[in-house]
Symmetry: D2
Subunit: 344 residues, 4 copies
Amino acid sequence: MIIPRNPRLTPAQLEEVEKIVGEFGCRIQTIVGAERCIYAILGDERHETMMNRLLGLDYVARVDAIDSPYKLMDIKSSLAEGKRQLAGVEIGKEPLFIAGPCTIDPKNPNLFYETAQAVKEAGGHILRGGVWKPRTMPYSYQGDNAALDILLEARARTGLAINTEVMDTDHLRLVLEAGIDVIQIGARNALNYPLLRQIGAQTAGSKTAVLLKRGRPMAPVDEFLAAAEYIVSAGNPKVLLCPRGTLPSMDGYRNHPDESITQLLKAKSWAPVIVDPSHSVGRAAYVPGAALAAMAYGADGFVVETHIDPKSGIGDDPKQSISPAVLATLITDARVIWKLRQKY
Amino acid sequence: MIIPRNPRLTPAQLEEVEKIVGEFGCRIQTIVGAERCIYAILGDERHETMMNRLLGLDYVARVDAIDSPYKLMDIKSSLAEGKRQLAGVEIGKEPLFIAGPCTIDPKNPNLFYETAQAVKEAGGHILRGGVWKPRTMPYSYQGDNAALDILLEARARTGLAINTEVMDTDHLRLVLEAGIDVIQIGARNALNYPLLRQIGAQTAGSKTAVLLKRGRPMAPVDEFLAAAEYIVSAGNPKVLLCPRGTLPSMDGYRNHPDESITQLLKAKSWAPVIVDPSHSVGRAAYVPGAALAAMAYGADGFVVETHIDPKSGIGDDPKQSISPAVLATLITDARVIWKLRQKY
Amino acid sequence: MIIPRNPRLTPAQLEEVEKIVGEFGCRIQTIVGAERCIYAILGDERHETMMNRLLGLDYVARVDAIDSPYKLMDIKSSLAEGKRQLAGVEIGKEPLFIAGPCTIDPKNPNLFYETAQAVKEAGGHILRGGVWKPRTMPYSYQGDNAALDILLEARARTGLAINTEVMDTDHLRLVLEAGIDVIQIGARNALNYPLLRQIGAQTAGSKTAVLLKRGRPMAPVDEFLAAAEYIVSAGNPKVLLCPRGTLPSMDGYRNHPDESITQLLKAKSWAPVIVDPSHSVGRAAYVPGAALAAMAYGADGFVVETHIDPKSGIGDDPKQSISPAVLATLITDARVIWKLRQKY
Amino acid sequence: MIIPRNPRLTPAQLEEVEKIVGEFGCRIQTIVGAERCIYAILGDERHETMMNRLLGLDYVARVDAIDSPYKLMDIKSSLAEGKRQLAGVEIGKEPLFIAGPCTIDPKNPNLFYETAQAVKEAGGHILRGGVWKPRTMPYSYQGDNAALDILLEARARTGLAINTEVMDTDHLRLVLEAGIDVIQIGARNALNYPLLRQIGAQTAGSKTAVLLKRGRPMAPVDEFLAAAEYIVSAGNPKVLLCPRGTLPSMDGYRNHPDESITQLLKAKSWAPVIVDPSHSVGRAAYVPGAALAAMAYGADGFVVETHIDPKSGIGDDPKQSISPAVLATLITDARVIWKLRQKY
């Protein structure tokens, strides 16, 4: 949809516009209003260069896209059909719960094993644990390959599926060799398109799911879904969308909570939404409220940081991990809200 | 807390700083660290001029306030004690529900009377209805004094308490004469301090409550509570805090939902939080999710736009009012979540 | 422009849509694309109720407005013609400079008189000075009617035109009696529509100009211009648009600087843009950079806080007022940049 | 600085706090105020785990950091000394200008060669040109290794230094083999710490500079500088900070312009600031205003998209590239403003 600066395009301007869209297989339909004309683009608007060339015309005030910038992620795509099974849960039939520490401490593997057992007993389906960590400061702990073995051992002991974040292709190779169940992409890499594409390609046809966090930027819904499209179009449709808070907040939370974006994602896409309230609010006391709110907004589940003894943890655990006892209560209550929510 | 640009203040700088804070009855305590010194202000930091003068010193990098900019609204103030009763509800013992149309249509009073009756049957405690409306465009409907009579008549017919927005002192005089139960201050006037002060003073000692919306600005928590302090310090402690979404949103919602701010308000203040999900999300289909999320975040209740026939409404009703049937279900479910939430 | 959720509306849906827009004198034109249809609204989209009713249809995904929500402020309106003269300056032919303290200290009138004289000598055209002040905390200094006499006396002594902020109708009455030259509306009242309307009506046909600050909210351009439309449509076209920073900033500035919005305002409206860098950045050391940047973005002038002895000032002066010496240099440099800017 | 929820810590709480900070070599100093105590942390606060553990205590309301989360980037670090020479320009003695197309079209190398020549004639110092491009949609043009040869050929023909963006380690290897002069890290990878670290390490001791864009997120100043610290601490201090707009904007710009952040970066760090106005505003007509504003805010130079024939370009060129003629004028004017700015 082209909105000109003046009430209508001159014949020469219209000709130029038609020529541009014609190169991309589109046509123009003029809409004659009482006071002004606007110009609809018929055809596929998903040509960035076409749109950029139209925006570059100084007699054009706005170019509004009607189509979304993704196809496979769209709620109307054929991918919307079919069951989505993960860790024994049929998503959409019951909620999915992922829990575990922010960061695995390689010096204290027992803390992780005990947490893993407690997550299982609390009703969690998938065990999370950070092997490598993106940290704001270069001088902070950045992770350790040895933690991957601890994660695998915990899977062996508990039977829980496992989830960890990868930050580059070296990490990716290691977790694929280990047969990870869920690969997590963090907020800082959420728009790292070469990495998204590689993950999609290397897990194509496998059982591995990909948990894609929302970009820290307050990424618009369409940009978030377009990032997921990189993974899906490269071959892996088992993507989970994970809001986790946006801009840093001044007001007592770590980030601006965005549990509410769940409703918008659900309106536009078929993909499951698994919310991360821990990074959103950033303090343990606020996590249960945010996790339950996520269920009220219609989330398919949550991923919540949990530690058998938060104050002994490293990474974000001391401030934002909840105890397994709180997790157990939370899962019970989340099931109640999930059920209430189905009627709307 | 004064943080200097250099590792420490010179003796002359320190003397200047001490002189400034001394004028306001404060003292400086130097904190000697390994690499730098910082300077604590002992006494009451709530002197804006003192803080501004410190910030004006070019050798000062930051001045961090420790105290909050309000006293009566603070969770530690003596106002935190005591029961808060409104429309027969003891707030904190059970949730409070306010519902009704965005705008009363003075040409169709029966639509309002029927809605009022339906709100009562659905379990609402207070009836809302806009008499005057702040509209973005000067050419849109701006309200009508005649609608106040309709609101009063609905109270007489149903026995429900009533709530409407005032935008200036003329409105205020009229609603006080009418014995309004709850005066609403909208987002656009949320920092209109002369109006806040007048409302506080003119309702001092009365039974009238004041529902203060959060400023559209993404007002920080402290600024929101300081605005409420204007009302309370002028004489009326019956203030209700009402988040209603912040910046306009690009993504399908009307505003950025801020139901989540409830937890922060509760951590800092004793005041009841009554969330407005209708203005937050701005479309009827998204309202129940947001209303239930508000309860999950710990709200004391909600105010939700409801209309017996939304598409016949004026103002925002056609897009964001829910039907009385949805309201009834929502109130039932909200009670369940409110109860679950008490355990955290 | 109506974008349906499904690729096209059913005949019954189309009929409903046509009926709604028909009530407001509009028609629908269907645009048939390869994969989907969209529906243009022919006629005047500035009916909020029509747009709300369309948004209320559950089969409608989006309703995009093509028209701006204002008429008189539009760059195409007939108001764009004609000269704009203020304080001896023809706006658009040379830049306009407003300067003076944040707040007039009624206990020290000489500080104000000396500042006024210094503003004149530095090349300022209009003298600003706060008589009444909106303050975050109810316990801070709120202004004093006596300061108005000091402002008038300074005008008498220097011959400079004068500018002050009004917050309510009592203030308005007083400044109109005093024959103020420029009435300022602050960020907190920037969407206080009853006040805007009254100011527009009571200054209709007079020589008084109105300096309207941008709402603190990060008010979108259209909302800012629509607020100005309240003043202009009530009778006074002598409106000046004043960006002054938006959301509070965490990063060392007082607010997020928005000098850049100047270019967008200029693209959409004929109204002069007078930027306030003092409230934008909030510290004297950053003011010159922001003031010069405003000129580079194409502003018609600036309003900058200046004080003969900033550290003796009250209000924001100690932190953000520049000295008259800096003002003089700044005005000289601003003229250079203003001139360079005309060629683009 | 620890601010407790209650007016003071109990002895047991204080002991726990002292124990935690003691593990990291810090001590606590109690500051006894009239109404409350606060607790200063003496020692190095840059231990994320220590800060997280303190935040995890439920009797702690806030933990304010005094130190910045970087050392080498700090304006007080020894790196602030010494000359910074790039492409024949001594930064700080005269402004630096980078220009060229958004994206090199491998099918039309002559367009690039002609643009390169025109950039040189307009007074540019470094030639930019995108070889690989992060695009929102996976279906858009993503770049081509062949474009790197074109870039190198343009360097050979003009003698200009060259700059291009890398998105992963494959790109990095190729540009290092080619002896690139300036490596660009785009907004989407601005917090991709493994990549930042690798670039820093692999260019350690070389003449290669690194242009680090500000993260799209509205990255806070400290996070931006901490990201640069990854590069510098890995061995390469030749880092250039590049603001390029933040959140997507609704209002006619592509992003929210952030030229203003220049002043904050300059107050905290010694690193040169080279602003990108093209991505900030996103339309050619707005670029000169933003580029000149950047100089007014104190930038050391700019990087601006320029194309010999913008409408023939690919990538963002058609909408945001300026012509070489505009570039030439812009560089002349920028030199004037740069010079004016030095006096403040």
